[in-house]
Symmetry: C2
Subunit: 284 residues, 2 copies
Amino acid sequence: MEIVSRVNDLKTLVRQAKQAGKSVGFVPTMGYLHEGHLTLMRQAKSENGIVVASIFVNPLQFGPSEDYATYPRDFERDSKLASTAGVDILFAPEVAQMYPRGVENMLTMVEVRRLSERLCGKARPGHFQGVATVVCKLFNLVEPDAAYFGQKDAQQVVVIKRMVEDLNMNLRIVAVPIVRESDGLARSSRNVYLDAKERQAALVLYESLMLAREKLTGGLRDAAQIIKLMNELINKQPLAKIDYISISDSETLDELVVVDRPALIALAVRIGKTRLIDNVLWEG
Amino acid sequence: MEIVSRVNDLKTLVRQAKQAGKSVGFVPTMGYLHEGHLTLMRQAKSENGIVVASIFVNPLQFGPSEDYATYPRDFERDSKLASTAGVDILFAPEVAQMYPRGVENMLTMVEVRRLSERLCGKARPGHFQGVATVVCKLFNLVEPDAAYFGQKDAQQVVVIKRMVEDLNMNLRIVAVPIVRESDGLARSSRNVYLDAKERQAALVLYESLMLAREKLTGGLRDAAQIIKLMNELINKQPLAKIDYISISDSETLDELVVVDRPALIALAVRIGKTRLIDNVLWEG
Protein backbone atom coordinates (compact mmCIF):
# COMPACT_ATOMS: atom_id res chain seq x y z
CA MET A 1 0.00 0.00 0.00
CA GLU A 2 1.25 3.45 -0.95
CA ILE A 3 0.54 6.32 1.43
CA VAL A 4 0.34 9.78 -0.12
CA SER A 5 -0.47 13.12 1.38
CA ARG A 6 -0.17 15.30 -1.71
CA VAL A 7 -2.78 15.81 -4.38
CA ASN A 8 -0.23 15.56 -7.18
CA ASP A 9 1.24 12.29 -5.89
CA LEU A 10 -2.25 10.84 -5.64
CA LYS A 11 -3.02 11.82 -9.23
CA THR A 12 0.24 10.34 -10.50
CA LEU A 13 -0.39 6.99 -8.81
CA VAL A 14 -3.99 6.79 -9.98
CA ARG A 15 -2.95 7.67 -13.54
CA GLN A 16 -0.37 4.86 -13.54
CA ALA A 17 -2.99 2.34 -12.41
CA LYS A 18 -5.44 3.50 -15.06
CA GLN A 19 -2.80 3.34 -17.78
CA ALA A 20 -2.21 -0.26 -16.70
CA GLY A 21 -5.90 -0.83 -17.46
CA LYS A 22 -7.04 -1.15 -13.87
CA SER A 23 -10.45 0.00 -12.67
CA VAL A 24 -10.47 2.18 -9.57
CA GLY A 25 -12.67 1.72 -6.50
CA PHE A 26 -12.73 4.59 -4.02
CA VAL A 27 -13.59 4.66 -0.32
CA PRO A 28 -13.65 8.17 1.19
CA THR A 29 -13.48 8.17 5.00
CA MET A 30 -12.73 10.42 7.95
CA GLY A 31 -10.50 7.73 9.44
CA TYR A 32 -10.63 6.06 12.84
CA LEU A 33 -11.52 3.02 10.82
CA HIS A 34 -13.87 0.33 12.05
CA GLU A 35 -15.38 -2.81 10.58
CA GLY A 36 -17.87 -0.72 8.61
CA HIS A 37 -15.08 1.04 6.68
CA LEU A 38 -13.15 -2.20 6.23
CA THR A 39 -16.23 -3.82 4.71
CA LEU A 40 -16.39 -0.98 2.16
CA MET A 41 -12.71 -1.46 1.34
CA ARG A 42 -12.99 -5.23 0.94
CA GLN A 43 -16.03 -4.84 -1.32
CA ALA A 44 -14.24 -2.19 -3.38
CA LYS A 45 -11.26 -4.53 -3.69
CA SER A 46 -13.43 -7.42 -4.87
CA GLU A 47 -14.96 -5.27 -7.61
CA ASN A 48 -11.98 -3.24 -8.89
CA GLY A 49 -8.41 -3.43 -10.05
CA ILE A 50 -7.19 -1.10 -7.31
CA VAL A 51 -8.68 0.54 -4.26
CA VAL A 52 -8.01 4.14 -3.26
CA ALA A 53 -9.10 5.15 0.24
CA SER A 54 -8.92 8.62 1.71
CA ILE A 55 -8.68 9.70 5.32
CA PHE A 56 -9.62 13.32 5.74
CA VAL A 57 -11.49 14.94 8.58
CA ASN A 58 -13.13 17.65 6.50
CA PRO A 59 -13.51 20.91 8.41
CA LEU A 60 -16.08 22.15 5.89
CA GLN A 61 -18.72 19.68 7.08
CA PHE A 62 -18.51 20.43 10.82
CA GLY A 63 -20.55 23.16 12.45
CA PRO A 64 -18.86 25.64 14.80
CA SER A 65 -20.19 23.81 17.90
CA GLU A 66 -19.41 20.32 16.57
CA ASP A 67 -16.57 17.91 17.24
CA TYR A 68 -14.10 18.76 14.44
CA ALA A 69 -11.20 19.34 16.86
CA THR A 70 -11.90 16.26 18.98
CA TYR A 71 -12.98 13.87 16.23
CA PRO A 72 -10.96 10.70 16.92
CA ARG A 73 -7.81 10.24 14.83
CA ASP A 74 -5.26 7.38 14.79
CA PHE A 75 -3.40 7.33 11.52
CA GLU A 76 -0.97 4.53 12.35
CA ARG A 77 -3.70 2.11 13.30
CA ASP A 78 -5.80 3.22 10.31
CA SER A 79 -3.03 2.64 7.80
CA LYS A 80 -2.42 -0.90 9.08
CA LEU A 81 -6.14 -1.71 8.91
CA ALA A 82 -6.51 -0.20 5.43
CA SER A 83 -3.55 -2.17 4.15
CA THR A 84 -4.98 -5.42 5.53
CA ALA A 85 -8.36 -4.64 3.94
CA GLY A 86 -6.75 -4.43 0.51
CA VAL A 87 -6.31 -0.69 -0.02
CA ASP A 88 -3.64 0.04 -2.66
CA ILE A 89 -3.39 3.82 -2.30
CA LEU A 90 -4.14 5.61 0.96
CA PHE A 91 -4.63 9.36 0.53
CA ALA A 92 -4.26 11.28 3.80
CA PRO A 93 -3.98 14.99 3.01
CA GLU A 94 -3.49 17.89 5.38
CA VAL A 95 -6.22 20.55 5.31
CA ALA A 96 -3.92 22.83 3.29
CA GLN A 97 -3.72 20.24 0.49
CA MET A 98 -7.47 20.16 0.15
CA TYR A 99 -8.05 23.87 0.76
CA PRO A 100 -4.83 25.57 -0.38
CA ARG A 101 -6.30 29.08 -0.02
CA GLY A 102 -7.62 28.27 3.45
CA VAL A 103 -11.06 26.95 4.39
CA GLU A 104 -12.45 30.48 4.63
CA ASN A 105 -11.39 31.16 1.02
CA MET A 106 -12.94 27.99 -0.36
CA LEU A 107 -15.54 29.82 -2.42
CA THR A 108 -17.10 27.02 -4.44
CA MET A 109 -19.77 24.97 -2.73
CA VAL A 110 -21.86 22.12 -4.07
CA GLU A 111 -25.33 22.02 -2.60
CA VAL A 112 -27.97 19.37 -3.07
CA ARG A 113 -31.03 21.38 -2.17
CA ARG A 114 -34.04 19.96 -0.31
CA LEU A 115 -32.31 16.61 0.39
CA SER A 116 -29.67 18.41 2.46
CA GLU A 117 -32.17 20.24 4.63
CA ARG A 118 -34.03 17.25 6.03
CA LEU A 119 -33.27 14.76 8.85
CA CYS A 120 -29.73 15.48 10.04
CA GLY A 121 -29.67 18.63 7.92
CA LYS A 122 -32.04 20.36 10.34
CA ALA A 123 -29.65 20.03 13.28
CA ARG A 124 -26.53 20.38 11.13
CA PRO A 125 -27.03 23.30 8.71
CA GLY A 126 -24.27 23.34 6.09
CA HIS A 127 -23.18 19.78 6.90
CA PHE A 128 -24.26 18.16 3.64
CA GLN A 129 -23.00 21.11 1.63
CA GLY A 130 -19.59 20.45 3.18
CA VAL A 131 -19.92 16.74 2.46
CA ALA A 132 -21.04 17.20 -1.15
CA THR A 133 -18.27 19.72 -1.80
CA VAL A 134 -15.41 17.61 -0.44
CA VAL A 135 -16.75 14.45 -2.08
CA CYS A 136 -16.95 16.31 -5.41
CA LYS A 137 -13.31 17.37 -4.97
CA LEU A 138 -12.21 13.84 -4.07
CA PHE A 139 -14.09 12.38 -7.03
CA ASN A 140 -12.30 14.82 -9.34
CA LEU A 141 -8.93 13.92 -7.80
CA VAL A 142 -9.41 10.13 -7.93
CA GLU A 143 -11.76 9.82 -10.93
CA PRO A 144 -12.94 6.43 -9.66
CA ASP A 145 -15.13 3.94 -11.53
CA ALA A 146 -17.09 3.34 -8.34
CA ALA A 147 -17.23 4.89 -4.87
CA TYR A 148 -18.38 3.05 -1.76
CA PHE A 149 -20.41 4.56 1.09
CA GLY A 150 -21.86 3.03 4.22
CA GLN A 151 -25.64 2.87 4.49
CA LYS A 152 -25.27 4.01 8.09
CA ASP A 153 -25.05 7.56 6.75
CA ALA A 154 -28.24 7.02 4.77
CA GLN A 155 -28.88 10.68 4.04
CA GLN A 156 -25.31 11.12 2.84
CA VAL A 157 -25.85 8.26 0.37
CA VAL A 158 -29.04 9.90 -0.93
CA VAL A 159 -27.33 13.29 -1.25
CA ILE A 160 -24.23 11.92 -3.01
CA LYS A 161 -26.25 9.75 -5.41
CA ARG A 162 -28.32 12.75 -6.38
CA MET A 163 -25.24 14.96 -6.83
CA VAL A 164 -23.68 12.37 -9.14
CA GLU A 165 -26.88 12.13 -11.19
CA ASP A 166 -27.56 15.87 -11.34
CA LEU A 167 -23.98 16.82 -12.27
CA ASN A 168 -23.43 13.93 -14.73
CA MET A 169 -20.45 12.60 -12.79
CA ASN A 170 -18.89 9.53 -14.34
CA LEU A 171 -18.98 6.93 -11.59
CA ARG A 172 -21.20 4.46 -9.78
CA ILE A 173 -22.18 4.99 -6.14
CA VAL A 174 -22.35 1.75 -4.16
CA ALA A 175 -24.18 1.77 -0.81
CA VAL A 176 -23.05 -0.97 1.55
CA PRO A 177 -25.27 -2.29 4.39
CA ILE A 178 -24.63 -1.19 7.98
CA VAL A 179 -22.14 -3.26 9.97
CA ARG A 180 -23.28 -3.76 13.58
CA GLU A 181 -21.80 -4.97 16.83
CA SER A 182 -23.13 -8.36 17.93
CA ASP A 183 -25.72 -6.63 20.15
CA GLY A 184 -26.99 -4.47 17.28
CA LEU A 185 -25.21 -1.14 17.81
CA ALA A 186 -24.21 0.33 14.44
CA ARG A 187 -20.44 0.70 14.08
CA SER A 188 -19.37 4.33 14.23
CA SER A 189 -16.12 6.15 14.88
CA ARG A 190 -18.04 8.20 17.43
CA ASN A 191 -18.86 5.09 19.54
CA VAL A 192 -15.46 5.66 21.15
CA TYR A 193 -16.96 8.67 22.94
CA LEU A 194 -19.34 6.40 24.93
CA ASP A 195 -18.58 5.23 28.46
CA ALA A 196 -19.83 1.80 29.63
CA LYS A 197 -23.28 3.01 30.74
CA GLU A 198 -23.77 5.07 27.60
CA ARG A 199 -22.63 2.15 25.45
CA GLN A 200 -25.44 0.10 26.99
CA ALA A 201 -27.97 2.92 26.65
CA ALA A 202 -27.02 3.37 22.97
CA LEU A 203 -28.68 0.05 22.16
CA VAL A 204 -31.99 1.85 22.29
CA LEU A 205 -31.45 3.23 18.76
CA TYR A 206 -31.38 -0.22 17.19
CA GLU A 207 -34.11 -1.53 19.49
CA SER A 208 -36.44 1.25 18.37
CA LEU A 209 -35.69 0.50 14.72
CA MET A 210 -36.44 -3.19 15.31
CA LEU A 211 -39.70 -2.21 16.97
CA ALA A 212 -40.62 -0.14 13.90
CA ARG A 213 -39.78 -3.01 11.58
CA GLU A 214 -41.82 -5.40 13.69
CA LYS A 215 -44.84 -3.09 13.53
CA LEU A 216 -44.47 -2.66 9.77
CA THR A 217 -44.18 -6.42 9.32
CA GLY A 218 -47.31 -6.73 11.44
CA GLY A 219 -49.19 -4.48 9.03
CA LEU A 220 -49.10 -1.05 10.74
CA ARG A 221 -48.72 1.68 8.08
CA ASP A 222 -49.40 4.87 10.03
CA ALA A 223 -46.01 6.65 10.27
CA ALA A 224 -47.05 8.87 13.19
CA GLN A 225 -48.12 5.81 15.20
CA ILE A 226 -44.84 4.01 14.54
CA ILE A 227 -42.83 7.10 15.46
CA LYS A 228 -44.89 7.46 18.67
CA LEU A 229 -44.01 3.91 19.69
CA MET A 230 -40.31 4.50 18.94
CA ASN A 231 -40.44 7.73 20.95
CA GLU A 232 -41.95 5.95 23.94
CA LEU A 233 -39.33 3.24 23.87
CA ILE A 234 -36.42 5.67 23.64
CA ASN A 235 -37.83 8.00 26.30
CA LYS A 236 -37.66 5.13 28.81
CA GLN A 237 -33.89 5.40 28.52
CA PRO A 238 -32.80 8.29 30.78
CA LEU A 239 -29.43 8.82 29.04
CA ALA A 240 -31.11 9.21 25.64
CA LYS A 241 -32.33 12.48 24.15
CA ILE A 242 -34.04 12.27 20.77
CA ASP A 243 -32.92 14.67 18.05
CA TYR A 244 -35.31 13.31 15.41
CA ILE A 245 -37.13 10.19 14.32
CA SER A 246 -38.16 10.14 10.67
CA ILE A 247 -39.95 7.81 8.28
CA SER A 248 -39.40 9.11 4.76
CA ASP A 249 -39.46 8.14 1.10
CA SER A 250 -36.06 6.49 0.70
CA GLU A 251 -35.20 8.45 -2.47
CA THR A 252 -36.73 11.89 -1.94
CA LEU A 253 -36.57 11.91 1.89
CA ASP A 254 -40.13 13.32 1.89
CA GLU A 255 -41.76 12.46 5.22
CA LEU A 256 -44.42 9.77 4.82
CA VAL A 257 -47.85 9.81 6.43
CA VAL A 258 -48.62 6.29 5.26
CA VAL A 259 -45.76 3.85 4.72
CA ASP A 260 -46.89 2.76 1.25
CA ARG A 261 -43.52 2.70 -0.54
CA PRO A 262 -39.83 1.96 0.15
CA ALA A 263 -39.05 3.92 3.29
CA LEU A 264 -36.06 5.04 5.29
CA ILE A 265 -36.63 4.81 9.03
CA ALA A 266 -33.93 6.98 10.52
CA LEU A 267 -33.14 8.60 13.82
CA ALA A 268 -30.58 10.69 15.63
CA VAL A 269 -30.31 10.41 19.40
CA ARG A 270 -27.94 12.00 21.86
CA ILE A 271 -26.53 9.54 24.37
CA GLY A 272 -24.92 11.81 26.93
CA LYS A 273 -22.92 14.25 24.79
CA THR A 274 -22.59 11.90 21.82
CA ARG A 275 -24.95 12.25 18.87
CA LEU A 276 -25.57 8.85 17.26
CA ILE A 277 -27.52 8.02 14.12
CA ASP A 278 -28.94 4.76 12.81
CA ASN A 279 -31.49 3.61 10.26
CA VAL A 280 -33.15 0.70 8.52
CA LEU A 281 -34.58 0.52 5.04
CA TRP A 282 -38.11 -0.84 4.71
CA GLU A 283 -38.51 -2.20 1.21
CA GLY A 284 -42.29 -2.58 1.56
CA MET B 1 -18.93 17.42 -38.07
CA GLU B 2 -21.20 15.15 -36.08
CA ILE B 3 -24.32 16.68 -34.55
CA VAL B 4 -25.67 14.98 -31.41
CA SER B 5 -28.54 15.88 -29.14
CA ARG B 6 -28.26 13.05 -26.63
CA VAL B 7 -25.91 12.85 -23.69
CA ASN B 8 -25.09 9.20 -24.35
CA ASP B 9 -24.24 9.81 -28.01
CA LEU B 10 -21.98 12.67 -27.00
CA LYS B 11 -20.15 10.49 -24.50
CA THR B 12 -19.70 7.69 -27.03
CA LEU B 13 -18.18 10.03 -29.64
CA VAL B 14 -15.87 11.71 -27.14
CA ARG B 15 -14.73 8.33 -25.80
CA GLN B 16 -13.86 7.19 -29.33
CA ALA B 17 -11.76 10.30 -29.93
CA LYS B 18 -9.94 9.87 -26.63
CA GLN B 19 -9.26 6.21 -27.31
CA ALA B 20 -7.70 7.33 -30.59
CA GLY B 21 -5.35 9.46 -28.48
CA LYS B 22 -6.85 12.81 -29.36
CA SER B 23 -6.99 15.71 -26.95
CA VAL B 24 -10.34 17.43 -26.57
CA GLY B 25 -11.00 21.17 -26.71
CA PHE B 26 -14.44 22.31 -25.62
CA VAL B 27 -16.40 25.47 -26.44
CA PRO B 28 -19.68 25.80 -24.53
CA THR B 29 -22.08 28.35 -26.08
CA MET B 30 -25.72 29.40 -26.07
CA GLY B 31 -25.69 29.49 -29.87
CA TYR B 32 -26.57 32.32 -32.25
CA LEU B 33 -22.90 32.18 -33.05
CA HIS B 34 -20.86 35.22 -33.97
CA GLU B 35 -17.22 35.91 -34.69
CA GLY B 36 -16.43 35.76 -30.95
CA HIS B 37 -17.58 32.14 -30.72
CA LEU B 38 -15.89 31.21 -33.98
CA THR B 39 -12.61 32.61 -32.67
CA LEU B 40 -12.92 30.32 -29.62
CA MET B 41 -13.60 27.34 -31.87
CA ARG B 42 -10.67 28.07 -34.18
CA GLN B 43 -8.33 28.49 -31.22
CA ALA B 44 -9.61 25.23 -29.67
CA LYS B 45 -9.03 23.51 -33.01
CA SER B 46 -5.46 24.78 -33.26
CA GLU B 47 -4.63 23.45 -29.78
CA ASN B 48 -6.45 20.08 -29.68
CA GLY B 49 -7.07 16.87 -31.57
CA ILE B 50 -10.82 17.45 -31.70
CA VAL B 51 -13.19 20.26 -30.80
CA VAL B 52 -16.51 19.72 -29.09
CA ALA B 53 -18.89 22.68 -29.04
CA SER B 54 -22.23 22.84 -27.28
CA ILE B 55 -25.26 24.96 -28.05
CA PHE B 56 -27.60 25.11 -25.11
CA VAL B 57 -29.68 28.03 -23.91
CA ASN B 58 -29.60 27.10 -20.24
CA PRO B 59 -32.85 27.99 -18.45
CA LEU B 60 -31.11 27.73 -15.06
CA GLN B 61 -29.08 30.91 -15.65
CA PHE B 62 -31.95 33.19 -16.68
CA GLY B 63 -33.98 35.13 -14.14
CA PRO B 64 -37.80 35.09 -14.34
CA SER B 65 -37.88 38.54 -15.98
CA GLU B 66 -35.01 37.84 -18.38
CA ASP B 67 -34.93 36.89 -22.05
CA TYR B 68 -34.80 33.07 -21.91
CA ALA B 69 -37.84 32.66 -24.17
CA THR B 70 -36.75 35.28 -26.68
CA TYR B 71 -32.99 34.60 -26.66
CA PRO B 72 -32.07 34.39 -30.37
CA ARG B 73 -31.77 30.88 -31.81
CA ASP B 74 -30.82 29.72 -35.31
CA PHE B 75 -29.55 26.18 -35.25
CA GLU B 76 -29.13 25.72 -38.99
CA ARG B 77 -26.95 28.76 -39.38
CA ASP B 78 -25.04 27.87 -36.20
CA SER B 79 -24.23 24.35 -37.34
CA LYS B 80 -22.85 25.61 -40.66
CA LEU B 81 -20.68 28.18 -38.91
CA ALA B 82 -19.44 25.69 -36.31
CA SER B 83 -18.52 23.20 -39.00
CA THR B 84 -16.58 25.83 -40.92
CA ALA B 85 -14.77 26.88 -37.73
CA GLY B 86 -13.46 23.33 -37.26
CA VAL B 87 -15.89 21.85 -34.71
CA ASP B 88 -15.87 18.04 -34.83
CA ILE B 89 -18.77 17.30 -32.48
CA LEU B 90 -21.66 19.71 -32.00
CA PHE B 91 -23.76 18.92 -28.94
CA ALA B 92 -27.20 20.54 -29.05
CA PRO B 93 -29.37 19.01 -26.33
CA GLU B 94 -33.00 19.70 -25.50
CA VAL B 95 -33.66 20.94 -21.97
CA ALA B 96 -34.92 17.46 -21.00
CA GLN B 97 -31.53 15.94 -21.88
CA MET B 98 -29.75 18.28 -19.51
CA TYR B 99 -32.43 18.30 -16.81
CA PRO B 100 -34.21 14.94 -17.15
CA ARG B 101 -36.21 15.43 -13.93
CA GLY B 102 -37.23 18.93 -15.02
CA VAL B 103 -35.52 22.22 -14.22
CA GLU B 104 -37.51 22.57 -10.97
CA ASN B 105 -36.20 19.18 -9.79
CA MET B 106 -32.58 19.97 -10.53
CA LEU B 107 -31.51 19.91 -6.89
CA THR B 108 -27.73 20.16 -7.12
CA MET B 109 -26.29 23.61 -7.59
CA VAL B 110 -22.68 24.73 -7.81
CA GLU B 111 -22.11 28.14 -6.32
CA VAL B 112 -18.93 30.19 -6.39
CA ARG B 113 -19.61 32.48 -3.48
CA ARG B 114 -18.56 36.14 -3.34
CA LEU B 115 -17.40 36.17 -7.00
CA SER B 116 -20.96 35.40 -8.13
CA GLU B 117 -22.52 38.23 -6.16
CA ARG B 118 -20.57 41.12 -7.65
CA LEU B 119 -20.88 43.12 -10.89
CA CYS B 120 -23.54 41.38 -13.01
CA GLY B 121 -24.43 39.17 -10.04
CA LYS B 122 -26.14 42.09 -8.32
CA ALA B 123 -28.65 42.61 -11.11
CA ARG B 124 -28.85 38.90 -11.94
CA PRO B 125 -29.18 36.92 -8.69
CA GLY B 126 -28.73 33.20 -9.34
CA HIS B 127 -27.23 33.78 -12.79
CA PHE B 128 -23.70 32.60 -12.03
CA GLN B 129 -25.00 29.69 -9.98
CA GLY B 130 -26.88 28.59 -13.10
CA VAL B 131 -23.78 29.12 -15.21
CA ALA B 132 -21.43 27.27 -12.85
CA THR B 133 -23.88 24.38 -12.52
CA VAL B 134 -24.43 23.84 -16.24
CA VAL B 135 -20.73 24.28 -17.02
CA CYS B 136 -19.89 21.70 -14.34
CA LYS B 137 -22.36 19.29 -15.97
CA LEU B 138 -20.95 19.94 -19.44
CA PHE B 139 -17.37 19.46 -18.21
CA ASN B 140 -18.37 16.09 -16.72
CA LEU B 141 -20.06 15.08 -19.98
CA VAL B 142 -17.21 16.12 -22.27
CA GLU B 143 -14.21 15.70 -19.93
CA PRO B 144 -12.18 18.12 -22.06
CA ASP B 145 -8.47 18.85 -21.76
CA ALA B 146 -9.20 22.55 -22.20
CA ALA B 147 -12.31 24.72 -22.36
CA TYR B 148 -12.49 28.08 -24.12
CA PHE B 149 -14.43 31.12 -22.91
CA GLY B 150 -14.69 34.63 -24.29
CA GLN B 151 -13.22 37.44 -22.19
CA LYS B 152 -16.35 39.45 -23.02
CA ASP B 153 -18.03 37.60 -20.13
CA ALA B 154 -15.17 38.51 -17.83
CA GLN B 155 -16.95 37.66 -14.60
CA GLN B 156 -17.98 34.28 -16.02
CA VAL B 157 -14.31 33.55 -16.75
CA VAL B 158 -13.34 34.46 -13.17
CA VAL B 159 -16.15 32.33 -11.72
CA ILE B 160 -15.40 29.28 -13.89
CA LYS B 161 -11.65 29.46 -13.28
CA ARG B 162 -12.26 29.55 -9.54
CA MET B 163 -14.75 26.65 -9.70
CA VAL B 164 -12.20 24.54 -11.59
CA GLU B 165 -9.50 25.34 -9.04
CA ASP B 166 -11.68 24.89 -5.95
CA LEU B 167 -13.22 21.60 -7.11
CA ASN B 168 -9.97 20.12 -8.53
CA MET B 169 -11.44 19.74 -11.99
CA ASN B 170 -9.04 18.27 -14.51
CA LEU B 171 -8.90 20.80 -17.32
CA ARG B 172 -7.43 24.12 -18.38
CA ILE B 173 -9.60 27.21 -18.80
CA VAL B 174 -8.54 29.40 -21.70
CA ALA B 175 -9.84 32.97 -21.83
CA VAL B 176 -9.86 34.44 -25.35
CA PRO B 177 -9.81 38.21 -25.99
CA ILE B 178 -12.97 40.06 -26.97
CA VAL B 179 -13.79 40.20 -30.67
CA ARG B 180 -15.20 43.59 -31.69
CA GLU B 181 -16.95 45.12 -34.67
CA SER B 182 -14.78 47.52 -36.68
CA ASP B 183 -16.25 50.47 -34.72
CA GLY B 184 -15.45 48.87 -31.36
CA LEU B 185 -18.77 47.30 -30.30
CA ALA B 186 -18.13 43.95 -28.60
CA ARG B 187 -19.66 41.05 -30.49
CA SER B 188 -22.69 39.63 -28.68
CA SER B 189 -25.65 37.48 -29.62
CA ARG B 190 -27.83 40.13 -28.00
CA ASN B 191 -26.65 42.82 -30.47
CA VAL B 192 -29.38 41.51 -32.75
CA TYR B 193 -31.92 43.13 -30.42
CA LEU B 194 -30.61 46.63 -31.30
CA ASP B 195 -32.28 48.82 -33.91
CA ALA B 196 -30.16 51.23 -35.99
CA LYS B 197 -30.28 54.10 -33.49
CA GLU B 198 -29.56 51.80 -30.55
CA ARG B 199 -26.71 50.15 -32.47
CA GLN B 200 -25.12 53.59 -32.78
CA ALA B 201 -25.79 54.46 -29.13
CA ALA B 202 -24.24 51.16 -28.00
CA LEU B 203 -20.82 52.45 -29.02
CA VAL B 204 -20.78 54.41 -25.79
CA LEU B 205 -19.78 51.29 -23.82
CA TYR B 206 -16.50 50.87 -25.67
CA GLU B 207 -15.91 54.62 -25.80
CA SER B 208 -16.18 54.84 -22.02
CA LEU B 209 -13.74 51.93 -21.61
CA MET B 210 -11.29 53.65 -23.96
CA LEU B 211 -11.65 56.83 -21.92
CA ALA B 212 -10.82 54.86 -18.74
CA ARG B 213 -7.78 53.30 -20.38
CA GLU B 214 -6.62 56.68 -21.63
CA LYS B 215 -6.88 58.12 -18.10
CA LEU B 216 -5.02 55.14 -16.60
CA THR B 217 -2.31 55.44 -19.23
CA GLY B 218 -2.11 59.13 -18.37
CA GLY B 219 -1.44 58.22 -14.73
CA LEU B 220 -4.84 58.65 -13.05
CA ARG B 221 -5.23 55.95 -10.36
CA ASP B 222 -8.33 57.07 -8.46
CA ALA B 223 -11.06 54.53 -9.36
CA ALA B 224 -13.94 56.79 -8.30
CA GLN B 225 -12.63 59.58 -10.53
CA ILE B 226 -12.34 57.30 -13.53
CA ILE B 227 -15.82 55.88 -12.94
CA LYS B 228 -17.18 59.43 -12.65
CA LEU B 229 -15.73 60.33 -16.06
CA MET B 230 -17.18 57.16 -17.59
CA ASN B 231 -20.54 57.95 -16.02
CA GLU B 232 -20.55 61.45 -17.46
CA LEU B 233 -19.72 60.20 -20.93
CA ILE B 234 -22.42 57.54 -20.93
CA ASN B 235 -25.05 59.82 -19.45
CA LYS B 236 -24.69 62.09 -22.49
CA GLN B 237 -26.23 59.27 -24.51
CA PRO B 238 -30.02 59.49 -24.02
CA LEU B 239 -30.69 55.85 -25.02
CA ALA B 240 -28.20 54.54 -22.44
CA LYS B 241 -29.04 53.65 -18.86
CA ILE B 242 -26.13 52.50 -16.68
CA ASP B 243 -26.56 49.31 -14.66
CA TYR B 244 -23.07 49.40 -13.17
CA ILE B 245 -19.53 50.56 -13.82
CA SER B 246 -16.86 48.72 -11.86
CA ILE B 247 -13.10 48.77 -11.49
CA SER B 248 -12.06 45.65 -9.59
CA ASP B 249 -9.15 43.36 -8.85
CA SER B 250 -9.14 41.11 -11.91
CA GLU B 251 -8.91 37.89 -9.87
CA THR B 252 -10.97 38.56 -6.73
CA LEU B 253 -13.37 41.12 -8.26
CA ASP B 254 -12.89 43.25 -5.12
CA GLU B 255 -13.68 46.85 -5.99
CA LEU B 256 -10.52 48.97 -6.10
CA VAL B 257 -10.15 52.43 -4.60
CA VAL B 258 -6.72 52.90 -6.15
CA VAL B 259 -5.87 51.11 -9.39
CA ASP B 260 -2.58 49.70 -8.15
CA ARG B 261 -2.80 46.15 -9.56
CA PRO B 262 -4.21 44.29 -12.59
CA ALA B 263 -7.77 45.51 -12.87
CA LEU B 264 -10.96 44.63 -14.66
CA ILE B 265 -12.83 47.68 -15.88
CA ALA B 266 -16.32 46.42 -16.58
CA LEU B 267 -19.75 47.82 -17.17
CA ALA B 268 -23.32 46.90 -17.96
CA VAL B 269 -25.54 49.39 -19.74
CA ARG B 270 -29.08 49.16 -21.01
CA ILE B 271 -29.52 50.47 -24.53
CA GLY B 272 -33.27 50.66 -24.87
CA LYS B 273 -34.44 47.29 -23.60
CA THR B 274 -31.16 45.50 -24.31
CA ARG B 275 -28.66 44.96 -21.52
CA LEU B 276 -25.10 45.01 -22.90
CA ILE B 277 -21.82 44.33 -21.12
CA ASP B 278 -18.24 45.10 -22.03
CA ASN B 279 -14.86 45.31 -20.32
CA VAL B 280 -11.15 45.85 -20.67
CA LEU B 281 -8.32 44.42 -18.61
CA TRP B 282 -5.77 46.89 -17.29
CA GLU B 283 -2.55 45.02 -16.68
CA GLY B 284 -0.97 47.93 -14.79
